[in-house]
Amino acid sequence: MKRKTTVLERIYLALFMIMLYTPMVVLMVFSFNSSNSTSVIAGFSLKWYAELFKDGATIAAFRNTVVLAVISAVISTVFGLVSAVGINYTRNRYYKKTLLTTNNIPMMNPDIVTGISMMLLFVFAGTLMHRQGVLGFGTMLIAHITFQLPYVILNILPRFRAMDGYLTEAAQDLGCTPVQAFFKVTLPQIRPGVIAGAIMAFTLSLDDFVISYFVSGPEFQTLPIRIYSMTKKRVTPDMYALSTIIFLVMLILLIALNVIQNRAENGSLRNREKVAK
C-alpha cells in the first residue's frame, strides 16, 4: 500500500507531536535550571537532582514502587497463567463466560470506583477483625494483583487460540504426560503472551496512582502517591528532576522492548526468506 502523505498531513502530525511533547520537554529543561523559576532559565545546574537524592521519602517511595511492581507482577503472571490455562480448556461454557465477564469488570470500571470499592472491602474486613489501619503493603499488593490479572489473562488467552491445537496431542503421542506436554510444548507457544502480560502487569503497577491512592496506608507509599502529595504543595524543581529520570527510564525500557521484539520478528522473517529461495 503506497500512499503518500501530503504536506498538510505532515504539518498536522508535527503539531500534534509538539503538543504531546512540549510539556515534558519543558519539565526536563527546567530540571537543569539553576534557579527555581518555572519560566526563566538562569543557568545549567544539577542541584535539583542532588536535592532529589537527598529526599529520603522519595527514595523510599521509589524502592517501594519497584518492590511492589516486581512482586505483584510475578504473582499475577503465574496466577494469570494458571487461570488462563484453566479458562481456555474448560468445557463448561457458562462457567467460562462468567469468568471472562468478571475479568472485564476492573477494565471497564473507572479506576476510582475500583479503588474505593477495594478500600471499603479492606476497611470492612478490618472492622470485622477489630483492627485499625489495615491499609498498607498487603492491601496494595492484593489490589495490584487484582487489577493486573485481567490484563495478564487477556494477553495469554489469544495465544492459545493462535496455537495449533494438535501440538499438545502430538507431544503426548510421542510420549509426554499431559503435564510434560504443557511445559515442553504449550508453554513455549504461549510464551510471548506470558511475557507481554508480565511486562504490562509490571508497568501498570509502576504507573498506578488512583487505585493505590485509596488502598495505601501512611507507612507504605509508592512513587505516584509521593508525587501526588508533593504536587499538593508548591512544587520545587526536584520534581522536574524526578520526572526526567522516570521519563528516561521508561523511554529506555520501551526502546529495549521494541528492539527485543524486532529482533524476534526479523529472525523468523529471515527464515521465511530462505523458504522463498
Binding site: 502530525l13 504531546l20 469468568l99 476510582i112 487477556l154 504507573d207 485509596f214 505516584p224
Partner: protein
C-alpha cells in the same frame, strides 16, 4: 487432563475475583444504601441531588474531551496508517511514550506551562503580546483530559485503520463517491470498532478523573471524581461517597451498554 482438572485450576481465580472484584462492589452498594449506624437508608441517594451541577459538569467535560480527542485523533490515525511500516512503528512508540509517564506528572507539566507566570505567558510577553489567563479555566481542565487520554483514542483507531483495506476506499471512488461520501459511508463504518473502543477508553477516565480538575481547574470546577475523593479521603463520609460511586458506575455501565449496541460487541474492545 480432564475437564474437572481444568475447572479446579480456575477455582482460585474465580474465588479471587469473587472476593476482590464482586464483593467490593456489593459493599459499595451496601454503604450507599445504609447510614452511619448501619441501618437501611435512602438518604445518601437523595443527597445526590446536591451534586447535580457537579454530575452534569463531569458528563459535559467528559463528552467535550472525548469529542475533541476523536476529532484530533481520527486524522492522525489515518495519517499514521498511510506511512511506511517502519515509520508507523516509530510513530506508535512516540504516542506510547507519554502514556508510560505517570498522568500526575503529565498533568503537572501542563500546569507548569499554563501558569500565569508560566512559560507560555512568558513567551507571549517576550514577543510583545499580552498574557493569557490559561490556568484555572474550564478550557484548561478539558485540555488536561485531552492531553492525558488522546493516546487511548489514537491507538485503537490506528489499529482498525491498518486493518482497513485501501481497496475499499478505491472501490468507493470507483463507484463515484466523493471525498466526504467516502469518509461517511466507507471510512466511518469500517473503523467503527476503533471509534467505539477509543471513545470508551477516553470517556471513562475523563468522566471519573479527580486530579486533573484540581490542578488545572484550581478547585473551581469540581467533578464527580473530586467529590468521591473528598468523601473518602477528607470528609470521611463513606456512605455518601459510595452512593456517588454507585451512580458513576451505573452511569458508565449504561453508557458502555449503549455503545456496544452501536457496534459489534465482540469487536468493541480493540486495545
Amino acid at each position: 487432563m480432564n475437564n474437572r482438572t481444568y475447572n479446579a485450576i480456575t477455582a482460585p481465580y474465580g474465588l479471587w475475583m469473587a472476593v476482590f472484584i464482586v464483593a467490593p462492589l456489593a459493599i459499595v452498594a451496601y454503604y450507599a444504601l445504609t447510614d452511619a449506624a448501619g441501618h437501611f437508608s435512602l438518604e445518601n441517594i437523595t443527597q445526590l441531588s446536591l451534586y447535580t451541577d457537579t454530575i452534569f459538569r463531569s458528563v459535559w467535560f467528559g463528552l467535550v474531551a472525548t469529542i475533541l480527542c476523536l476529532v484530533t485523533a481520527y486524522p492522525l490515525a489515518y495519517i499514521f496508517s498511510k506511512t511506511k511500516a517502519s515509520t508507523q512503528t516509530v510513530l506508535v512508540m512516540l504516542i506510547m511514550i507519554p502514556m508510560w509517564m505517570n498522568f500526575i506528572l503529565r498533568t503537572y507539566a501542563i500546569m507548569v506551562l499554563f501558569e500565569d507566570t508560566g512559560i507560555i505567558n512568558h513567551f507571549l510577553q517576550s514577543i510583545g503580546l499580552s498574557p493569557l489567563h490559561l490556568i484555572n479555566t474550564s478550557g484548561a481542565v478539558i485540555f488536561g483530559m485531552v492531553y492525558n487520554y488522546v493516546p487511548f483514542m489514537v491507538l485503537p483507531l490506528y489499529t482498525t485503520m491498518t486493518k482497513l483495506d485501501y481497496k475499499y476506499i478505491e472501490a468507493g471512488r470507483d463507484l463515484g463517491a466523493n471525498g466526504f461520501q467516502i469518509f461517511k459511508d466507507v471510512m466511518i463504518p469500517l473503523t467503527k470498532p476503533g471509534i467505539i473502543s477509543g471513545v470508551t477508553m477516553v470517556f471513562v477516565p475523563s468522566v471519573s478523573t479527580f486530579y486533573i480538575s484540581q490542578k488545572l481547574g484550581g478547585g473551581r470546577y469540581t467533578l464527580i471524581g473530586d467529590v468521591i475523593e473528598m468523601q473518602f479521603q477528607t470528609a470521611y463520609n463513606y456512605h455518601l461517597g459510595a452512593s456517588i460511586s454507585l451512580l458513576l458506575m451505573v452511569f458508565i455501565l449504561v453508557c458502555l451498554a449503549v455503545m456496544n449496541r452501536f457496534g459489534d460487541a465482540e469487536e468493541g474492545m480493540v486495545v
